[in-house]
């Protein structure tokens, strides 16, 4: 018998997962920061009255969107 996502209910028990490595944790933190910054930049760009500032914030969002996509192949 399987769940709808395909995980067998009688799967063999495994040892607890190892704690995340420092590199993996750093990567997760960078990914979370990128996501947060994209949201923040979108909000700031929407509120910006100076057109140059608006473009500046949107260009920054471009870079972070590229990074966020790199984290999600």
């Amino acid at each position: 018998m399987e769940h709808s996502i395909g995980t067998p209910t009688n799967a063999t028990a495994h040892a607890p997962l190892d704690p995340p490595t420092a590199a993996a944790q750093a990567r997760a933190e960078r990914q979370a920061r990128a996501d947060w910054l994209i949201t923040e930049l979108s909000r700031l760009a929407a509120q910006a009255e100076d057109p140059h500032d608006r473009v500046r914030l949107r260009r920054t969002a471009d870079s972070l969107t590229r990074l966020a996509l790199a984290f999600r192949p």
Binding site: L41, R56, R58, T60, R66, A70, P73
Partner: protein, 339 residues
């Protein structure tokens, strides 16, 4: 949007997009572009995106519409703000194309993975933007846009990524000087790489600008220490990403100077280690030291008439070749490393 083949100079926005990728690649001198020829007009917070699947996303209102307007009014005189809007759209187009560039053996998958590493985004974004700013007029001329929008090459607009660009300009221009390159060469070399190749090239250029290649043998960990300094220093730049342009510029430059100081300290320490060890005489190469002529001790005077038990004057002469051989011989890197 699917682009089409065109003649020497584009006469519509579709033709412009069709030749823009190859024009950017040729301008950069890169082996290849990962652009798949597709452009999607978007409407979101971002203005332009070089997607990892090879698709180019451009904002309709801010990027595509001004370029459409440019060709719809070909040859007409336009006010400066309109010309600046065209320039900024073209700058974004060139910038995004630069993201797709790489050497023949590059893959988007390796580039994507490398882009997530510490400092990679700041390096690539700074290089791409600085290079695009420096080559925008050439891009415009190659595409014949200066004929379509007269005066576009005489107006100027501010660039972006002020948190990254000043630092990258400072680091790359310093490497140009140190390596004897013409101005802009380091920036161009980095721009031809994907994120996977940029740090190795940058570290090589830093390393080769020092005396270390002549002093130490391959296999030392100096390069990894230099890379670590560069990565952590460049990663720090994102601290200023939300800052106003002036503040970001100031802090970006200050960060570059800190990186340079740290690199100098690291290389100076390594060079000093090898330089000092190379000045020490190598007992395997040098003959024994020549005895100094000095006043004999009372003990020596008392024994002055007694012959030494082993060495004869002839043997001593043979042990001391001409003084030319006393010059310290510089130890080879391999010998130094073995110690």
């Amino acid at each position: 949007m699917t682009t089409t083949a065109v003649g020497p100079h584009p006469t519509s926005v579709l033709e412009l997009f069709a030749v823009s990728g190859e024009t950017a690649r040729a301008l950069a001198g890169a082996d290849r572009s990962a652009w798949n020829g597709h452009i999607i007009e978007s409407s979101s917070a971002m203005l332009g995106l070089a997607h990892w699947d090879g698709t180019l996303y451009l904002d309709r209102e801010s990027i595509v519409d001004p370029l459409r307007h440019l060709y719809e009014h070909a040859g007409a005189r336009r006010p400066t703000p309109t010309l600046i809007a065209y320039r900024e759209s073209l700058a974004t187009l060139l910038h995004e194309h630069a993201h797709f560039l790489g050497p023949d053996d590059a893959t988007q998958e390796a580039a994507r993975e490398a882009f997530t590493k510490l400092g990679s985004r700041q390096l690539e974004e700074g290089v791409t933007e600085a290079w695009a700013q420096d080559h925008l007029d050439d891009f415009i001329h190659r595409l014949g846009i200066d004929k379509v929008a007269p005066g576009i090459d005489s107006v100027r607009s501010n660039g972006y990524y002020a948190a990254f660009v000043p630092a990258i300009r400072e680091l790359t221009s310093d490497l140009d000087t140190r390596n004897g390159f013409p101005p802009g060469e380091t920036l161009s070399l980095l721009n031809r790489q994907t994120a996977a190749g940029q740090f190795p090239v940058l570290v090589d250029l830093v390393y080769n600008s020092t005396r270390l290649p002549d002093l130490e043998s391959p296999g030392t960990d100096t390069r990894s220490r230099l890379e670590s300094i560069l990565r952590s220093g460049l990663a720090h730049l994102e601290t200023y990403e939300l800052s106003p342009t002036d503040l970001a510029t100031t802090n970006s430059l200050a960060t570059a100077h800190q990186i340079q100081a740290h690199l100098h300290q690291e290389t100076h320490t390594a060079e000093a280690t090898y330089a000092s060890s190379s000045l020490q005489p190598d007992p395997c190469v040098l003959p024994p030291p020549v005895p100094l002529r000095c006043a004999p001790t009372p003990h020596q005077s008392a024994l002055s008439g007694v012959a030494p038990p082993t060495a004869t004057p002839l043997a001593r002469t043979q042990l001391h070749p001409p003084h030319a051989n006393l010059r310290p011989t510089r130890r080879s890197p391999a010998t130094s490393q073995a110690r």
